[in-house]
């Protein structure tokens, strides 16, 4: 067994697995039920020959439509957000909420500014 790191958007998780990454879907917030993989009211069917419990990471990524990259030498993998989820959010017309720190480490939420017009300006030192 080897210790793997799984990066799920902003979070990283440590888990034990073999040379191939398998993980419990609950790590990503999904529960295995008779209907399939479920989160809140949504269930995604799982092929009948897939046993319950830890699941191959690439298969799990495919079922959840979450792009994944796996580095088998470094024992680390990263999941991205589903493209459809991001696209639906933008196409809803509402500004996706986020929370980020300022120079002093104080966290600010975009939704804290509800009631004002907001200019969101992304820049970089590069």
């Amino acid at each position: 067994m080897t210790t793997w790191t799984v990066i799920d958007e902003q979070q990283s998780h440590l888990l034990e697995a073999g040379d191939t990454l398998v993980l419990d879907p609950s790590l990503l917030g999904w529960q295995r039920k008779p209907e399939g993989l479920c989160r809140d009211e949504v269930c995604i069917p799982v092929p009948a020959d897939v046993p319950p419990g830890a699941m191959d990471a690439a298969l799990l990524a495919r079922l959840l439509q979450r792009p994944i990259v796996i580095d088998p030498d470094e024992h680390v993998a990263a999941f991205a957000a589903p493209a459809a989820e991001r696209a639906d959010a933008l196409r809803s017309g509402m500004a996706p909420d986020f929370e980020l720190p300022d120079v002093h480490g104080i966290l600010h939420r975009l939704s804290d500014f509800r009631g004002k017009k907001v200019v969101l300006y992304a820049y970089a030192s590069w």
């Binding site: 990259v69 500004a95 300022d102 969101l120 300006y121 030192s125």
Partner: protein, 229 residues
């Protein structure tokens, strides 16, 4: 940079929020301190905002109304004309459009915001995962492995300069140096644009006629950056 507009328009109900897409707070700190920013100056080391809003370059500006609705697709807005002789972006029209929107004198956008909003496909999201992997490996001191993932991320999303240029400082590559100019040159040679400004506020000759800009004294500019660090 945004301080003056923020202070001018805050009494009219505008909040300016700047987000630095950088490695750590220390990267944008000199800019924030030199500007004496009075608005929230946030730092996004994980490219969270780029992911949520599908931003592919900086500077990128987005307008959000009182109800949290995006009222204008993302655009390029250099607030200062200091670099205009290099960037070819004049601030006259974007700044006038912003004032008009805040004052309620004009709609935020003449077109269909949702239709004109670009979204990421699965390959692009995979690129973002590859970038996240590279960034994590880099923070663990595993630079060689990180490099492979940064390269991979750039191959998957060649149009995303928050990945291709944004990863340069992490990889020890000068983001203002030859590697950047080679990348930008190759991109242009394919007939592709490095920036995608909205047409309604695009810079034209009329901007330079109305408000001439001074040629940038590059040496003085380089000195001011060095002194700012």
């Amino acid at each position: 940079m945004w301080r003056a507009l923020h202070e001018e328009l805050a009494p009219e109900g505008l909040a300016v929020i700047t987000v630095a897409i950088d490695r750590s707070i220390d990267d944008p700190r000199p800019f924030i301190e030199a500007a004496g920013a009075t608005h929230p100056s946030l730092i996004d080391t994980e490219h969270r905002v780029a992911d949520l809003y599908n931003m592919v370059n900086v500077p990128t500006v987005l307008w959000i109304d009182e109800d949290g609705r995006i009222v204008r697709p993302q655009d390029v807005h250099y607030v200062s004309n200091q670099l205009a002789s290099i960037t070819k972006f004049h601030n006259r029209k974007p700044t006038a459009a912003l004032r008009a929107w805040v004052h309620g004198d004009a709609p935020a956008y003449p077109g269909d915001v949702v239709a004109d909003t670009k979204v990421a496909d699965e390959t692009h999201q995979e690129a973002r995962a590859a970038f996240a992997l590279g960034w994590w490996l880099s923070q663990q001191g595993r630079a060689e492995a990180a490099e492979r993932w940064f390269v991979r991320a750039g191959e998957l999303a060649p149009h995303d300069f928050t990945i291709r240029r944004g990863s340069m400082p992490i990889r020890g590559i000068d983001p203002m140096g030859p590697a950047f100019f080679q990348m930008a040159g190759e991109w242009a040679a394919q007939g592709k644009a490095y920036y995608l400004p909205l047409p309604d506020t695009a810079t034209g000759d009329d901007d330079y006629d109305a408000e001439p800009i001074e040629e940038l004294d590059l040496e003085a500019f380089a000195r001011s950056i060095e002194e700012g660090r």
